[in-house]
């Protein structure tokens, strides 16, 4: 038996470790396309801030982890899959045969069709290499323009701000973190960021980038509101898409990502998918979605590994959730934070102190939540949603004070 995993991110590594535990004797091959040992993109901002060195991003810290667990780590980029002959074709190197295959190739940042994005001084913040490039430019006092104030953009923003750059954020939509936050919360984040001396332009598009000679090696960023912003560095964080182009022709059903069932199986025998490239069951909708977040990636990896090893482990579906630190203001969103038609909601806004909590209900169950300025026991929101606790009398109390989430969870689950 040879398990092959394409991709060495959190989903791939978790799957490899899970497979090793579940099937001690099998061969396991993990294929990564970057030169470094498997690392976490989520940790890159902390390299930028100087909190950790590059080694701090590595997914496994134990010395010789992969060797010790007989996980063969191969460098290479997958070119295509041949399901009939059960091989993965790799660019410029030998094919990799498999008995069972996991596709965990993640996602990549997209470049919007704007002139000048290929200029020197324009970077994504996606790989460790990107990180090194950004660090060259993002010195204290440097002018930096961040395109995109989505989830990933905001994570990078935090790190750039901490480096002491003069930061301007440009977001095309009408608020910050639009896919994670409603208007009230998004505006609160914007107000907070502005208070921390970050320039934020929402409902604004970058129209063009030009090289500038004054000073040498800088850029000018044109905005659709007519403004021009000078920049030593432009960081592009305008969204990501699943890395699935290479599976064309393999017969896998795809949509936003590779469609998988509750066991992480694709439409083709013995091929599984997990993480940012997989469109798996969505706990909240009962449909299929790409939830490109760390907890989903590891859940996918674990479930895929178990099922590949023949242990039946159906997945209840991933919960869309995010936690974000925007220059010190911490926010979290869970599930259907935008609610459902006919459902009740509870909301408290404390603009002055940057605190916000909104709960969305379906009957007497919580189905989604959005919070700003609170970290204590925030995980119970996942518990409340995923265990589908019937709140009974606690619904009324939460409607009055949604900050009683932990009390409600303990009361309903521990009594």
């Amino acid at each position: 038996m040879t398990y092959v995993i394409i991709g060495a991110g959190p989903a791939g590594v978790t799957a490899a470790d899970t497979l090793r535990k579940a099937d001690p004797k099998a061969d396991i091959v993990m294929i990564g396309s970057e030169p470094e040992p498997p690392y976490s993109r989520m940790a890159i901002p902390y390299v930028l801030t100087g909190l950790i060195a590059e080694e701090g991003t590595y997914l496994r810290k134990e010395e010789g982890h992969y060797d010790k667990n007989a996980i063969q780590y191969r460098q290479g980029e997958a070119e295509s899959i041949d399901p009939k002959n059960k091989v993965v074709k790799l660019k410029g190197t030998d094919d990799q045969p498999y008995s069972k295959l996991l596709i965990a190739t993640g996602a990549s940042p997209v470049k919007p069709p704007i002139d000048g994005l290929d200029l020197k001084g324009v970077h994504h913040c996606w790989t460790l290499e990107d990180c090194r490039n950004i660090m060259k430019f993002a010195d204290k006092g440097a002018d930096v323009v961040l395109m995109g104030a989505g989830f990933i953009g905001c994570i990078i923003m935090e790190a750039l701000a901490e480096r002491g750059v003069n930061l301007t954020v440009v977001e095309a939509l009408d608020r910050m973190v639009p896919r994670m936050m409603n208007e009230a919360a998004g505006n609160m984040v914007k107000a907070w960021c502005e208070k921390q001396n970050v320039n934020v332009h929402t409902s604004t598009k970058v129209t063009k980038l030009e090289a500038s000679k004054d000073p040498e090696d800088t850029l000018v960023v044109d905005l659709d509101n007519g403004k021009q912003i000078p920049a030593h560095l432009v960081v592009v964080a305008t969204g990501v898409k699943s890395n699935i182009d290479f599976v064309d022709g393999a017969g896998l059903k795809t949509d936003q990502g590779i469609l998988v069932d509750e066991c992480m199986r694709t439409s083709v025998d013995d091929i599984y998918a997990a993480g940012d490239c997989a469109q798996g069951p969505d706990f909240s909708t009962g449909g299929w979605a790409v939830h490109a977040v760390q907890p989903t990636a590891v859940d996918h990896g674990r479930i895929a590994g178990l099922n590949m090893a023949g242990k039946s482990a159906p997945f209840k579906g991933s919960l869309n959730m995010n936690v974000l630190d925007t220059v010190g203001l911490i926010s979290a969103s869970f599930g259907k934070w935008d609610g459902i038609e006919g459902g009740d909601h509870a909301e408290v806004i404390d603009t002055e102190n940057f605190k916000y909590m909104r709960l969305e209900f379906d009957g007497d169950k919580i189905i989604g939540a959005l919070s700003l300025g609170r970290t204590d026991q925030i995980g119970v929101l996942r518990g409340l949603i995923q265990t589908e606790i019937a709140l009974g009398p606690w619904k009324e109390r939460l409607m009055e004070n949604p900050h009683l989430i932990a009390d409600a969870y303990v009361a309903c689950s521990q009594q």
Binding site: V348, D350, K355, M357, N401, H403, L404
Partner: protein, 615 residues
Amino acid sequence: MAWAKKLLRVNLTAGTISEEALNMDWANKYLGQRGLATKYFVEEVDPKVDPLSPDNKMIMATGPLTGTCASTAGRYSVITKGALTGAIACSNSGGFFGNEMKNAGYDMVIFEGASKTPVYLFIDNDNAQLIDASDMWGTSVWDTEDKIKSDHQDPMIRVASIGISGEKGVKYACVVNDYHRAAGRSGVGTVMGSKNLKAVAIRGTKGVTVKDPVRFFEAANAGKAVLAGNPVTGEGLPAFGTQVLMNVINETGALPSQNHRDVQFDGAHAISAEAMAEPRESDGKPNLVRNAACFGCTIACGRISTIDRTHYTVAERPEYQVASGGLEYEAAWALGAATGVDDLDALTFANFICNEQGYDPISFGATVGAAMELYEIGAITDKETGGIELKFGSAKALTDLAELTGKSEGFGAEIGLGSKLLCEKYGHGELSMSVKGQEFPAYDSRGIQGMGLTYATSNRGACHLRSYTVASEVLGIPEKTDPLVHEGKAGLVKAFQDATAVFDSAGICVFTSFAWSLEDVAPQIDAACEGDWSVETLLEVGERIWNLERNFNNAAGFTAADDKLPERLMKDAAKTGPAKGLTSQLDKMLPEYYQLRGWTADGVPTNETLGRLGL
């Protein structure tokens, strides 16, 4: 280090808040809480001040052990000139408020002046602000606490507030924290109300440290072991609460009944701890839900109770069909024995209302008892009571008056005067069972002689918590003395008074003294606090505090003539029980007490005494 070494001064007139370093010279002489705050108070306030004038001040103070893991160490006290008494007032409360103040980084908060409009003080660690409380004025303690937590979106905020009774000047209003723990006596809540201060809300997350952690944990753990091994603090109080005393004191013949006409109460069992544990007919559940602890308390004497859902007081009112602070012994006595009411649910309901609207159940129940006697002799009639048939034993009269007094409406406004002013108003001052204007608690001075001297000399008016000689005279702690004899009680009272002042100044609960002597307390204070704190040092601190308070009262106009008991206790002998035929022998104990204290025959500390104590 134990002390936060910082206090907050809030001028309500000017609306200003400032921080000050704690006066450590004073802390070394007065320890903290009761002692240290009283020192600040007497230094800053004219003894002749009208308690309800803006010139009176109010101090909320913790002790050095408050917030540590010493058992019971979550206490704070409210120090002011009492609205009920005009004497120095110091009311102590448990719950979880004191430790929160210490965790916010303050040993005490001094309130001065009076706000023009209702406000509350919100302390979030270093950020303190006065916030408009207009929308809370006219609401209960319970609603105020809920609203503040909800407004700040933080269920962990600790709140001490006054109810409507405190706003409207009921003379014995309390400051209530954590829904049902109270700085209960002498009208400290009335003073707070006069300042238009509705509440103090605190969130403190800074942490409390001690001088020598290793030694402190040893001492604190040793102390906890002593409490756990003691029959009173290890068994009686956790199982039965203070209510363990109801049947005991009744059998001792020292349970004052019907405004102290009797020393035993036929209904004692019906309102006792044992009764609270008996299943009810309606739902098979007992009144007592469970015992509950204040911060850090390994005794957990608190009662959490429910009222029978079919009882007339709550049958139509689901908001009271919940668990809340149940009857403690003193409250059960005042609401029950003092009024002759033996309906446990009615007592529990009245107790809930006392907590909800923030007034002292001891003074309230005793005042209702006095009013019942006035009614019986015809000094007041249905006209004054607004149609309430104010007979001894009437549960309905008790619960109706509880609600009226809580809102200071109708005849409740007169009950809110306290027994002294009420009885004087209707021409029978002799029927007020009080000292210095404060009603007696639940021990009769005829059946327990030491308590007569305790009451007469208590610096805050009649009170059992200034020297609880019941411990010795009834329970045999630290050694048994005969409750019926007066010999030796002067020395006993002095020793209890001085030691208790230390407990009250340290941040711990006086109930620990059932098991702890200062030999147990000193090592805990010594390991926590800078300086050397031996038993001898502490005893001197205790005696110093007692004389400091006495000096203030003397300067406020009190004299030896105020160290007296009502004639009923001096002249009408006990009718039943072990003390049958006995009156209080206060006149024999008092001169000896003055002498032992180093006071003149007029009850004034001599210069020699003051010099010895460094006053």
